[in-house]
Structures are given as structure tokens and as C-alpha cells.
């Protein structure tokens, strides 16, 4: 074999290899989807829909009502975002627009460290410090409430929110700031009336990504929310124990018999969770496209 055909062969082999690597990602998404469906679909056939979307989750008595779990997840996620959004945007503005250079050099790695804190650590923090604090200050019977979970989740979503929102602020052209300052606006007016509105779609993306992170979180939520599968429909539900989809799967998957209705029901919860996060991610992606189409304007 001469040199040129040997080179051609190795080119071909390498290209084939990396192509397989690239295509494998499609394979993995399909794999996740197929196996979720394969293990989860039976529950939709075995259990009548009014039971499946009922209000009681007692798998040992054949009650597979997923509604309290779904509402539990949504309650915690939305409360967490309501807490984290103002904090995250304000912190992003501080890091990007206000802070002096030396502070930025310290704060940015700190945000990354924050993002790297494992969820069990935050769960421990929630259990041993936040929950007792909530119990004593609010006078509720247990500190393991939806609100505790929302606080911990807000803190977990914060680094995602800050860094994506900061990128959005970063992509606002400098000419906008210059123009506003040249018109005599103060720095505060420039930030509040020009820069933040211009970065609006990016901030929306940040919210979506933070939400995706929060709804899929398991360990911290399981450790601090008390895990009682009750419908969070009353006003004080925020200060009562609640149970999420993720915590249910993590807590019960170890004990179910493979192939039982309960096992399929847990995979059914997986399908619902997957669909919700898929929609959230889709929304985040479309917010990004919106920004691109309009060139960073509002």
C-alpha cells in the first residue's frame, strides 16, 4: 500500500469514528425515550386514567394518583423561581455593570463554585440549619415544608440564573450604554431603562433554564420537603410538607418489584417529568432564537 492510499484510509477511518460518536447522541436521546416509554406506557393501560390523575398516591393500595406529585413539583419550582429571579437578576447586574474589576474577578469563580455544590450538601444545609429556623420563626409544626424546599431550590437555581443573565447583559452592545449616558442618564437609569430591557429575552432564557434545573432536582428536595403526598391546594400548602415527582421516584424505585404496576407507575412519572422539562427547554431555546432574530433588541 502506498502512502497516499494509506492516508486516505486513515482519513476515512477517523471520519467514520467521529461520525459514530456524533450520531451516538441521537441514539442516547432515543434510548432514553424508548426505555421510558417501554417501562412507563403499561401503567397507562393497566390503571384507569381517573385513578392515574387522581388526588391520592398510595401505591400499596393501588392508588396511583400523580396529581399531588405534579402539583408539588410545580409549587416548589415556581416558588423557587419567584425567590431566585429578583436575586439572580440583581446579582447579575451587580457583577456585570456595577462591581469594580477586582470584585468581578472574585465573584465570577465564586458563582462557578456555587454551581458545583452537590445537592446532598445543600440538602444537609436545609435539613440541619434552614428547617429548624423555619420551624421556630414561622411556628409551624415541622420545618420540612414546601417553602424550605423552595428556598434551597432557589439557591440551587441562582448560579444558573446569574451566569445566563450575565451573558445576556454582556451581549447588549456597548453603544446602547454610551448613547444612554451621553443623553445625560445616570448609570442607574441606563441599567434599568436600557440595558436590562435590551437583555430581556436572555433573562427569560435564564429563568427557563433555572426552572429546568429546579424541577429536575431530587436529593435536596427529598431531604427538606417532608415527602407527604398531599394535594397542595390550600393557601397554607407552602408551609406544609409536600412531595415531588423526583423524590417519589428516588425514594420508591429501590423497593418496587420489577414489572409491577408500581414500577411502571414510577416510569410513568418519569415520562411526565421528561415531557415537562422538554417543554421548558424548548421554551428556553425559543427565547434564544428570539434574541438572535431581533439582534439583541427588545
Amino acid at each position: 500500500m502506498n502512502t497516499s492510499s494509506r492516508i486516505r484510509l486513515s482519513e476515512f477511518a477517523v471520519e467514520a469514528l467521529v461520525r459514530v460518536a456524533g450520531f451516538s447522541t441521537i441514539g442516547f436521546v432515543l434510548l432514553i425515550f424508548l426505555f421510558l416509554l417501554r417501562e412507563g406506557i403499561p401503567v397507562f393501560l393497566q390503571v384507569p386514567l381517573d385513578n392515574l390523575f387522581g388526588t391520592r398516591w398510595y401505591p400499596t393500595f393501588d392508588f396511583f394518583g400523580t396529581l399531588p406529585l405534579i402539583l408539588g413539583s410545580l409549587l416548589i419550582t415556581f416558588s423557587a423561581i419567584v425567590i431566585a429571579l429578583p436575586l439572580g437578576v440583581a446579582a447579575a447586574v451587580f457583577v456585570r455593570e456595577v462591581a469594580p474589576n477586582w470584585a468581578r474577578e472574585i465573584l465570577k469563580p465564586m458563582i462557578e463554585v456555587l454551581a458545583g455544590i452537590p445537592s446532598v450538601v445543600l440538602g444537609f444545609f436545609g435539613m440541619s440549619l434552614v428547617a429548624p429556623l423555619i420551624r421556630t420563626t414561622l411556628g409551624v409544626p415541622t420545618g420540612l415544608t414546601a417553602f424550605t424546599g423552595a428556598l434551597i431550590l432557589a439557591y440551587m437555581a441562582l448560579p444558573t440564573l446569574i451566569s445566563v443573565a450575565e451573558d445576556a447583559l454582556d451581549s447588549v452592545p456597548k453603544s446602547y450604554r454610551d448613547a444612554s449616558l451621553a443623553m445625560g442618564a445616570t448609570q442607574w437609569q441606563t441599567i434599568w431603562r436600557v440595558v436590562v430591557p435590551a437583555a430581556r429575552s436572555g433573562i427569560l432564557t435564564a429563568v427557563m433554564l433555572g426552572m429546568g434545573r429546579a424541577i429536575g432536582e431530587t436529593m435536596a428536595v427529598m431531604m427538606v420537603t417532608g415527602n407527604a403526598a398531599r394535594m397542595p391546594t390550600t393557601l397554607d400548602s407552602l408551609f406544609r410538607p409536600v412531595r415531588t415527582m423526583t423524590a417519589t421516584v428516588a425514594a420508591e424505585m429501590g423497593e418496587v418489584a420489577q414489572g409491577s404496576t408500581h414500577y411502571h407507575a414510577l416510569f410513568g412519572i418519569g415520562i411526565i417529568l421528561f415531557l415537562i422539562t422538554f417543554l421548558i427547554n424548548l421554551a428556553a431555546a425559543s427565547a434564544i432564537f428570539q434574541k438572535r432574530r431581533r439582534g439583541g433588541l427588545r
Binding site: E15, I32, L36, L87, G88, V98, A99, M127, E217
Partner: protein, 439 residues
């Protein structure tokens, strides 16, 4: 909308005041700016305070006074064996009994006098006592004869500021001794899991974490870097490339627990023959199922794959086009250029991404709970087909126990985990700052 805007514009243009009123207007405007800045700073400070509270919480639980009761007091042990005045030098130092200062022959004699014959045979079978070093014999004496049992614990803050109350409380407990201890000790790192909090350690968990992370690394790095090369260098802007990109973004957004469910359904159940090592003829009766290091590692490998691809793509994209064009100009093939120019320039960036992804894998718990980590193992995992537990799972299991001693152990294990993660993150950040070049 436009109406409101023009209103605002009119108010600000027409109503621009003069003289003193201008001064007042300006100072009001500056005041609003100051308040705004204070709010921004406040948000950042809140985030930092919570971080400090978290660290305070962990450190507070990791150190502090413990009251413990010995089954056999070390003084009694020494007094029983030596006549007064003939105690070897160094054993009684500063009011404490140092068992490791005893001569090995005497240590063995003490062990033989206090341990049951059956237990002694088991110990001799592990390694004959005569061959063990003096320090290990001292540990054995402490664990098998002195048998300290913790009866009460206090946190660091209590220990520092309420010393008097603590010693008063400790005196109420019969035969209790008060000691200030750090829950993170060399023995904590070196001992396996145990149901007794005073003897429990994290060695098996650390080895488990290392094995699982290693498997995840071996699986995801070649695949991830390969996929990144394909997407950046070969795929172009085709429809297929866009589909793959969407897929990767989707994978990155999938909750970690779903990966756990996939791992359970695919690696533990469908591929059981492979992940339990049956196809390689390794049938270990204790790990008959697929809940092994391999299943866990592959699950975490899938989990970090999108992170690695996204970071590697960014690193490859940052290599300037002129480098590639210069290569083509000299007649090099595409792979030659990638291998000799693109990859070497992208390696620091790729490595940073890999380290960050691995630190994510190291801290991940939920998917491994679903895949089926062992709740209690005392033997180090010795290969891909062994049962496993990891550091975060060990922490979770300790926090689930009601006894306060285990909360201290959990805090100590968290300290170990955080130090590991911080070291990895710091390496990644330094690597990036040092080597990532701006062309």
C-alpha cells in the same frame, strides 16, 4: 404603550427644572441610583451570606466536644498489666494513656487477655498479630478492648461558647469523659463504613466514588470529544448537524434522575449479563444483579456526556481558522490538521470542561440511588463488577439516621467531598486562565 412612553418623555423634557429645583432633582436622581446599586449589592451579599452559612453549618457540625464512655478504661488496662512504677516511658504522658507507646509484645498480651477466643482467631486469620505494626495494634486495642461509646455530642459553636454548661452536663452522665474531637481524622478517611459512629469512616465510599468516576471518564471523554470533533470539523451546517445539536441541548436539560431510571432499565436490567460480569465468567454470588460500579459509571458517563461535548466544541471553535488554512495550504489532510494543530490548541479548554464534568459526576447522588447503590458495604470495590457506594450516597444515608452522631459524620464527609470538589474546580479555573489563549 407608545402613549405612556411619550408621556414619560414629555415629563422629562418639558419639566426639566432650573436653579434650586434642578439641584433637588439631580440629588433625587442620584439617590435613586444609590438605592438601585445598594439593591444589586444586597442581592450579591445575600448569595454570599448563604454560602457562608452553609460552610459555617458544615464546619460547626464537623468539630466539637463529645462525651464518651469506655468499656475498659485505658488506665485500668495499664494498671492491671504493670506494677506501679514499672510502666514503660511515654505511656503516661500529660495525664493521658498512649496505647501506641506500649511495646508490641505487651499490646498483644493485653489483646489476648481481653478478646474472646473466636474473635482472636478471626483477627489472626486476617493477619497474624505478631506481624502487625505497633500503631495498628494500638488501634485494635482501642476498637476491641477500650471500646469507646459516644453518649453525647456538641457542635463547634456550643463547644466554644458554652464550655461550662457542657462540662456540667457531661458530669451528669455516669463514667463519661469529655473530649474535643474533630470528626474528620486520618482514621475517618482510612476506615470503612460501620454501624458504630465512633468507628465509621469513608474509605469504601471514596474508593467507590473514584471507581465510578473513572468509568464515567473512560466512557464519556472519547465519545464526547469525538462527537465534538465531528460537529465542529466534519458536519458543517447540515440539517443532520442541527438535529444532533438540538439533541445535545435536550440531553443537557434532562433531569439527572431520568438518567438514573435509564441506567436502571438499560444497564442494570437489560445488560445485566455485561454489567454483572457474567459474560466474562465472573460470577460473584454477592453481586448477582447488575447494580455494579460499571452500571453506575456508565449512567454518570451518559449524564456528563453533553457537558463534555458542549465544552469541547467551544474549545475547538476557539482555535482560529487561519491555523487550519495554513495547514491546508501546506497540503495536509483534514485529520492531520485536526490531530497536529486543532486538538493540541484545544486541549486546555477540553480538559477544563472534562474536569468540571467529572466534578459534577463526583457530586451526583440521585441517579445512583435509583441505579441501586449498596446501603452498607465494608469491602473496598475492587473492579468494575463490584458493588459500590459513593461519597454523596454515604452522606445521604448518614443524614437519614436519627442519631446526632451520624449528622456529625455526614458533616465530616461533606467537608471531605467539598475539599475534593474545590480542588478540582480550582484546577479547572487555573488551567483555563493559564492556557486558554486569545488569538
Amino acid at each position: 404603550m407608545t402613549d405612556r412612553k411619550s408621556q414619560i418623555a414629555n415629563r422629562e423634557l418639558d419639566g426639566y427644572p432650573e436653579g434650586e429645583r434642578l439641584e433637588a432633582f439631580l440629588s433625587r436622581r442620584a439617590g435613586a441610583g444609590q438605592i438601585g446599586k445598594a439593591l444589586f449589592l444586597g442581592a450579591t451579599v445575600v448569595a454570599i451570606i448563604v454560602l457562608l452559612a452553609l460552610l459555617y453549618n458544615v464546619v460547626n457540625e464537623s468539630f466539637g466536644y463529645v462525651a464518651y464512655r469506655n468499656k475498659v478504661e485505658p488506665e485500668a488496662l495499664v494498671a492491671e498489666y504493670y506494677a506501679a512504677g514499672s510502666v514503660p516511658a511515654g505511656v503516661l504522658s500529660a495525664g493521658e494513656v498512649r496505647l501506641d507507646a506500649l511495646p508490641p509484645a505487651d499490646q498483644i498480651a493485653m489483646l489476648k487477655a481481653h478478646i474472646s477466643a473466636g474473635r482472636l482467631r478471626a483477627l489472626e486469620a486476617q493477619q497474624p498479630l505478631a506481624q502487625r505494626p505497633s500503631a495498628e495494634l494500638a488501634q485494635l486495642l482501642a476498637a476491641e478492648v477500650v471500646k469507646p461509646e459516644i453518649v453525647a455530642t456538641w457542635t463547634l459553636v456550643e463547644s466554644l461558647f458554652a464550655r461550662a454548661e457542657i462540662s456540667a452536663e457531661a458530669q451528669q452522665i455516669a463514667n463519661a469523659r469529655l473530649d474535643f474531637r474533630s470528626w474528620v481524622t486520618p482514621a475517618f478517611l482510612a476506615s470503612p463504613q460501620s454501624s458504630k459512629p465512633e468507628l465509621a469512616g469513608v474509605r469504601t465510599a471514596i474508593f467507590g466514588s473514584l471507581w465510578v468516576t473513572l468509568i464515567a471518564f473512560l466512557f464519556s471523554v472519547p465519545l464526547g470529544v469525538g462527537a465534538a470533533i465531528y460537529l465542529e470539523e466534519y458536519a458543517g451546517n447540515s440539517r443532520l448537524a442541527q438535529i444532533i445539536e438540538t439533541n445535545i441541548n435536550n440531553l443537557a436539560g434532562v433531569p439527572s434522575i431520568i438518567y438514573g431510571m435509564l441506567g436502571l432499565a438499560v444497564f442494570v436490567r437489560v445488560l445485566e449479563a455485561l454489567t454483572s460480569g457474567k459474560v466474562f465468567g465472573l460470577v460473584d454470588p454477592t453481586t448477582a444483579s447488575g447494580r455494579t460500579v460499571l452500571s453506575a459509571g456508565l449512567t454518570l458517563g451518559l449524564l456528563i456526556l453533553p457537558l463534555i461535548i458542549i465544552n469541547a466544541r467551544e474549545a475547538i471553535r476557539a482555535v482560529p481558522h487561519t491555523l487550519r488554512e495554513a495547514g491546508y495550504g501546506l497540503g495536509a489532510t483534514q485529520w492531520q490538521i485536526i490531530r497536529a494543530h486543532v486538538l493540541p490548541n484545544a486541549v486546555p479548554g477540553i480538559l477544563t470542561g472534562v474536569i468540571l464534568a467529572l466534578s459534577r459526576a463526583l457530586g451526583e447522588t440521585a441517579p445512583l440511588v435509583v441505579v441501586g447503590a449498596s446501603t452498607f458495604i465494608v469491602i473496598d470495590p475492587n473492579g468494575p463488577f463490584a458493588k459500590f457506594t459513593t461519597l454523596p450516597i454515604q452522606i445521604y444515608q448518614w443524614t437519614a439516621r436519627p442519631q446526632p452522631e451520624f449528622q456529625h459524620l455526614a458533616a465530616a464527609a461533606i467537608l471531605v467531598l467539598l475539599v475534593l470538589l474545590l480542588a478540582m474546580n480550582a484546577t479547572a479555573i487555573l488551567l483555563r486562565n493559564k492556557y486558554v489563549r486569545n488569538y
